[in-house]
């Protein structure tokens, strides 16, 4: 009895091993050649959004910076004119920086933003070789101009883009 039991157990273990070797498909993803899609609510690197006409959604209100528990965001605002317009309304972010070393990807900034300008995107490829590089300026964060839109600053007709905060339906993912 004493001899048979361990042998049986051993065989069972080995069987599992063999089954795994020959029966299971590998799950390894060949990153970076291959990338797995992220979940809908994944919180990756931030993107600063634009409207369809190319104007920036961000109005430089710094509410994201105020909401940020990690003090990762720095915003400095300046004034729009119809000659050089970056965003609707009076105000735009002339400096917008996020320190990716500080960010904890909590998404509070998204929630705080009154214009849905800052969105945590799908990108998780954050690497840098110095602390300085970890600070992403506006140029790195802002999304490309959508087709049909104009880059900023734009020259706009007077009296059209007078309001900063658009009327929005309840925000979604």
């Amino acid at each position: 009895m004493r001899v048979v039991e361990p042998v049986v157990e051993l065989a069972r273990g080995l069987a599992t091993t063999l089954r795994m070797i020959f029966g299971e498909k590998p799950v390894t993803v060949q990153y970076p050649e291959e990338k797995r899609p992220v979940r809908p609510r994944f919180r990756g690197r931030h993107v600063l959004k634009r409207y369809d006409n190319g104007l920036e959604k961000c109005i430089g209100c710094a509410l994201c910076a105020a909401a940020c528990p990690a003090d990762a965001i720095f915003v400095e605002a300046s004034e729009n004119t119809d000659e050089a317009r970056y965003s609707p309304g009076d105000r735009y972010a002339s400096t917008y920086e996020i320190n990716m070393l500080r960010c904890i990807f909590c998404g509070f900034c998204e929630d705080a933003c009154p214009t849905e300008a800052i969105v945590l995107g799908d990108n998780y490829e954050l690497s840098f070789t110095s602390r300085r590089e970890a600070i992403y300026p506006k140029e790195m964060l802002i999304e490309p101009v959508p087709p049909g839109g104009q880059p900023t600053p734009q020259k706009t007709p007077p009296g059209v883009f007078t309001r900063s905060v658009p009327e929005m339906k309840d925000s979604q993912d």
Binding site: A66, E76, D90
Partner: protein, 818 residues
Amino acid sequence: MTELVTLSIDGKQVTVPKGTLVVDAAKQAGIDIPVFCYHPKMEPAGMCRMCLVELGRPMIDRATGQPVLENGQPKIQWAPKLETACTNVVSDGMVVLTRSEKARAGQQEILEFLLTSHPLDCPVCDKGGECPLQNLTLDYGPGKSRFLYNEKHHAEKHVPLGELIWLDRERCIQCGRCVRFQRLVAGEPVLAFDERGRDTEIITNSEPAFDSIFSGNTTDICPVGALTTADFRFGARPWELKSAASLCAQCPVGCNITFNTRREAKSGGRVVIKRVMPRQNEEVNEIWICDKGRFAYHFTESEARLRQPLIRRNGQLQPASWEEALDLAAAKLKAAGKDALILAGGRLSNEDLFNLKKLADGLGAQSVLYTHVGGGDLVTQIGLASGTNLADLGKGDTILVAACDLYEEAPIWWLRVKQAADRGATLIVVNARATRLDKHAGYVVRYAPGDETVTLQGLLKQDKIGAAIREAGNLLVFYAADGLDLNGSTSVAAACANLLIETGHFGRPNNGLIGVWPHANDQGAWEIGFRPEADLAAALKGKTVYIAAADPAGDDPRLAKALQDAGTVIVQELFQTATASLAEVVLPAAAYTEREGTFTSGERRVQRYYPAVPRWAETKADYVITAEIGQRLGLDLEAGAPALVFNRLTAEITAFAGLSYRKLAEVRPQWPIVGRADLYYGGTTYENKQGLGVHLAAAASAGESPHLPEVRKGSGPRPQEDALLAVPVTKLYDLGVTVRSSVLLEARIGLPAITIHPLTAEKMGLKAGEKAMIGLGGHENEVLVKLDETIPAGVALVPRSMGLPVSAPAPLSVGKAK
């Protein structure tokens, strides 16, 4: 003793003086009643209805006059509807409910209604974060609106009210605080309501728009972001700012201010001052500051500031190390010994001046104050004493303002003197020309240029004016040098001092002499022992001159000439001024915003200021530079903390005895309560937590009897037949070293202009607004011509510090512009 009244607010028994408003009584008891239109510095208007409360008074039996009792308690007669707490005065036995269901419902509805025409652009509004409407909506608002969003009222969003203030008509809640401030407090009713109902809007009815030197204060008390300053527009969010307590250094009033600072990408990562806010000191500036103080702070961040020491090599000023520069300066001063002269400006702190004085004493050199107003030695004797507060003056008191344009020279004094006159004080204005104070004065005395001392001496002989001075409960005398030079104002000071001494108005609170100095700390310089020099050009001859915080060469070509003829010139400055360009050694000084120190105001109040921003480039604080020079000469001067210098100062100079940095930082509770979470009550003025300052002891209050100063008999120059006499006057917005870097003020500074009588202009064929060429002291300048029929014919008013060489009354020639 004022009569007291006891009432109950939210069940709390409160005892307050009779006549108190319910809203203030609650505030004193720590109960907040929300307000928008009410402001503790102004009469109530009852316009916004935010302060609705339930209010009841004890029922009185008409037959007996006794309160009706119910179960042994007085029966309360409740007002049928909600009442405004800001317009109701307390009465005995009154019962107030501020948070009852009915009161809350009323408050909620007012907010709901206000928001129907409010844009809610908090994210981009400069008031967001310190906005009474935001705060009260959170605390008292309904959370939901029954009104239709699409029917929101829309209006113009950025209307410039002048160059300094922006109006957003959509944000305005028509509380009328700004209109009432301009009319009641500032006495410059340049704002008004236009249209009616929902279309009511704020307009300015002056030319130029919003023509007031107190306009910035409306942005503090506006309970929404309707009024904001052009200077701070989108500068930062309020919660991102750091604050540093400081003093305004633009005039001798010594307004308490707070510098708000932030590290900024636009400024290359430097920490810069973003805005200047008033800091409450009910004995100095209350909760106000003037626009010069608010907007003329940009000199600190100017790129034109001196960065490192300069030494003249081969005729050129070239960068040098501190060691080299200090060694050279010390060697030059040592060589000169008694033939050195130290010339200091009133922009320096008490500590700087003390070290300079010790250096001068060590060398046996003369220490000269650079100023055009004399008589400070008299102010040290019979100046204001502890316990003085201009707000205490009223009926039965007299204020005399002589040879001074307070409005241009010391705006907040103007404001407070005007308010004292409104309260019933007798105001006597003695001047050669009309000033803005005249319309508030009980008596206006005009003299011909040259007759100022005679006129002042004759005042007591005049019936009514003499009586007003002699019989005044308290007598305050302000004097300066309007239309005069140093000698002229010294005589005026002596004549004013005689009035005070003869009538016994000195040595007690609210009595005495006030010099309206050109700078923040001239009084400190006098107390420390600096004296001006009547003939500065002659005094400079052959001397080794060490000049700190003064630009004589820029002000007067004659002094520039004198400096060229002087021996070595050592200049300690913020900027490369005309004087610095003549120097052998230039020592870059830190601005007062970059360090600690104290100023002595014209009221002889010593106050502390604190560092706001880091020191610029390689600069050093003035007292440190002086001490390091002194140490090279073997003198024991303190280069450590300013508090240590101050300790030495207090040990040595009697008037300062007993003072210390700690004492200067003491605060007392002040009324109205401002600057806490309840911004809706007093506005965005800062609470004073860093010190109210302490009055210097006046020699006269210590029992020393002042001697009657001798008044110079001879008169100043008079206008001659067929020739114009240029007289110097002070302009608020000038080209002073600390003003001209403020781009925003450019329009207010304007071009150099002379003011003449219309008849004189006609004779010369000149019209208002035209350009003319003037010849003054051998120099030609192009100026604008302004007309004023109140000034004597034969006289031309020439502003100081506007690039025109006018240090004293002098003949002037006017010709057509080329």
